[in-house]
């Protein structure tokens, strides 16, 4: 049995109990990367030497009793939009192909303080814009369940790497579903925490008011443990929130007793694939069997979330990505005449089509004469969506629904039609608009063997509740390894 088939907590325990070591674990992860990553392309950068060196250091500290946490010595992948000092951070863009940050993102620093060993930087949609990880400058990541299919996105590299057992867990970021949707497509568990729970310092911004870093693991317990490690109040991030408690693991008691779960009828309408719908409703039943109380209700405003989201996210992105101009870092075109030509050529050559599309849209909706009609309208819509959730959480502890309307599409199917790709975000974006926590839990596969994920949405700061429900649900079915990983082992 490979160490990489274990959950992060199981592996951490073995390392603590000296059954294995951080170095052995790192070696196995690196071996698995060598075996499968030519096919899957989950990683943009793997620094083998650095990872092993780091694993040795961690092992010494474990032996010296300086590191005693559950993640000490456990190999992790970090999405390539999180800055890592001395390790290149590309956002899967030509723009940052050679960018080496001078500092490490707060979340990664917290993770390293917990003793996790970062083995590489995982592939993503360029600047986190996309739902398939096909917009990466470094080529698409493939779905370990079926390499003909996409892993979802934008944290596709992180989720696929966890599913393919190239690491024990990973960090992703979620602006409109970028942790939850690929987790569903890859059959792993992914959590998007309440806005402000994990510091965004060092996360290369896409939509600042929506971005949130979160864990991706094999199960809810791993996600809870990683969240405990990375969540912190950070004075360097002015939107960071001081939480009353950073204890999440203790919420997992195997039961869903007493949880009131709302099932929004508007999440189960025409757009939802039949098999996905079936699996999700079965999962809901399973939760009921664990003690939860289910009730259908109308959430309302669901169809307005995507247009509001794309206005806000594109507008913020157009501003956030303005800094990539060929002056301080990143790509600069070879030949240019004067300053503005240098700007235009560097940016046009450095960014891919999807990024340019969103920057253009964002610049347009903010331009003179359009601000009220688009941006302000979107902010008002956001307020109404938040209210709709507030009303729902007066009655329910959480909302249960799909993470995506379908299972993973084939490579190349989505890019030609951006709008329909955007529509795939219908169940995820409203959570970001309202700043809520959401978790995706695998709940079976479709007829083609592609994973399906159930999404649980909690009220703000209620990660404990959704983690508890996710964990309770896991008690009703075993974790399914993807065929590729099962075969390798």
């Amino acid at each position: 049995m490979s160490l990489m088939s274990l959950t992060a907590l199981e592996l951490g325990k073995k390392i603590r109990e000296r059954e294995t070591s951080a170095v052995e674990a790192a070696r196995e992860a690196l071996d698995q990367i060598k075996k499968v990553d030519k096919t899957l392309n989950c990683f943009v950068t793997v620094d083998e030497e650095q990872a092993l060196h780091r694993a040795e250091e961690v092992q010494k500290k474990i032996e010296a009793g300086e590191l005693t946490g559950p993640l000490a010595g456990v190999p992790a992948a970090v999405k390539d939009n999180l800055c890592t000092e001395g390790l290149r951070t590309t956002c899967s863009s030509r723009m940052l192909e050679h960018f080496v940050p001078s500092y490490t993102a707060e979340a990664v620093r917290n993770l390293e303080n917990a003793g996790a060993v970062v083995i590489g930087k995982s592939n993503m949609d360029e600047f986190a814009m996309g739902s398939t990880t096909e917009t990466s400058y470094f080529g698409p990541t493939r779905n370990p369940w079926n390499p003909e299919h996409v892993p979802g996105g934008s944290s596709g590299g992180s989720c696929a790497a966890v599913a393919a057992e190239e690491c024990s867990f990973a960090l992703g970021s979620d602006t409109g579903g970028s942790i939850r949707q690929p987790s569903a497509f890859c059959g792993v568990t992914g959590l998007k925490p309440t806005y402000g729970t994990v510091s965004r310092y060092g996360l290369i911004a896409y939509g600042s008011s929506l971005d949130q870093i979160g864990p991706i693991g094999k199960d809810a317990a791993d996600c809870a443990a990683v969240l405990e490690a990375i969540a912190s109040y950070d004075r360097k991030d002015s939107t960071s929130m001081k939480r009353d408690s950073y204890d999440f693991l203790s919420a997992l008691d195997g039961s869903a007793e007493g949880l009131r779960i709302g099932i929004p009828r508007d999440y189960f309408g025409d757009g939802l694939n039949g098999e996905v719908k079936e699996r999700i409703l079965e999962a809901a039943k399973a939760l009921e069997s664990k003690g939860a109380v289910l009730e259908e209700f109308d959430l309302s405003l669901v169809e307005y979330a995507i247009p509001a989201y794309y206005v806000i996210a594109s507008a913020e992105a157009s501003s956030n990505l303005a800094r990539f101009d060929g002056v301080k870092y990143g790509y600069r075109t070879r030949e240019y005449e004067g300053l503005h030509n240098m700007y235009k050529k560097s940016r046009s050559e450095g960014f891919g089509p999807e990024v340019k599309r969103r920057i253009m849209l964002g610049s347009f909706v903010l331009s003179s004469g359009y601000y009220d009609a688009y941006y302000l309208k979107a902010l008002k819509t956001k307020a109404l969506i938040k209210r709709a959730f507030d009303r729902a959480f007066e009655k329910y502890d959480m909302i249960l629904g799909p993470a995506a309307p379908t299972t993973a599409p084939k490579l190349g199917e989505s890019l030609g039609d951006p709008l329909s790709m955007y529509l795939g975000d219908i169940y995820t974006v409203s959570v970001n608009l309202a700043g809520l926590p959401g978790i995706t839990v695998p709940c079976g596969t479709d007829g083609r063997g592609l994973p399906i994920g159930m999404q649980l949405i909690g009220d703000c700061f209620q990660e404990r509740k959704i983690l508890r429900a996710a964990h309770a649900y896991e008690q009703t079915r075993a974790y399914s390894r993807c065929p590729m990983a099962a075969k390798q082992a």
């Binding site: 050679h98 080496v100 001078s102 806005y195 402000g196 008011s209 004075r235 002015s238 939107t239 929130m241 405003l301 169809e303 307005y304 247009p307 794309y310 206005v311 157009s318 303005a322 002056v327 301080k328 870092y329 990143g330 600069r332 240019y336 300053l339 503005h340 240098m342 700007y343 235009k344 050529k345 940016r347 046009s348 089509p353 340019k356 599309r357 920057i359 253009m360 849209l361 964002g362 610049s363 347009f364 909706v365 331009s367 688009y374 302000l376 309208k377 979107a378 902010l379 008002k380 819509t381 956001k382 307020a383 109404l384 938040k386 951006p418 709008l419 955007y422 309202a434 700043g435 703000c460």
Partner: protein
Amino acid sequence: MANMISDETMEYVGILAKLELSQEEREQAKKDMEQMLDYIDMLNTLDTDGVEPMSHVFPIHNVFREDTVENTDEHEKMLANAPSAKDGAFKVPKTVE
């Protein structure tokens, strides 16, 4: 299609965003943008009269630093990523005529 984006608008947005699209890219981008804006126009069917626009989802305020110097000089690390540098500064094409 309800929204029609002119070539002038595309050029104007290109100036704002500092992007220069090829003819082909521009045609595609125009089409995509029109399609997106048509879709976004759906927001107009939602009555938002009297709704306060929400930019920050949580009502936090007054997050401050105290006025004390903490940073140290790390300009060499910073300049290591510069596409072009000279004398400790970032080098750019001449900015005055």
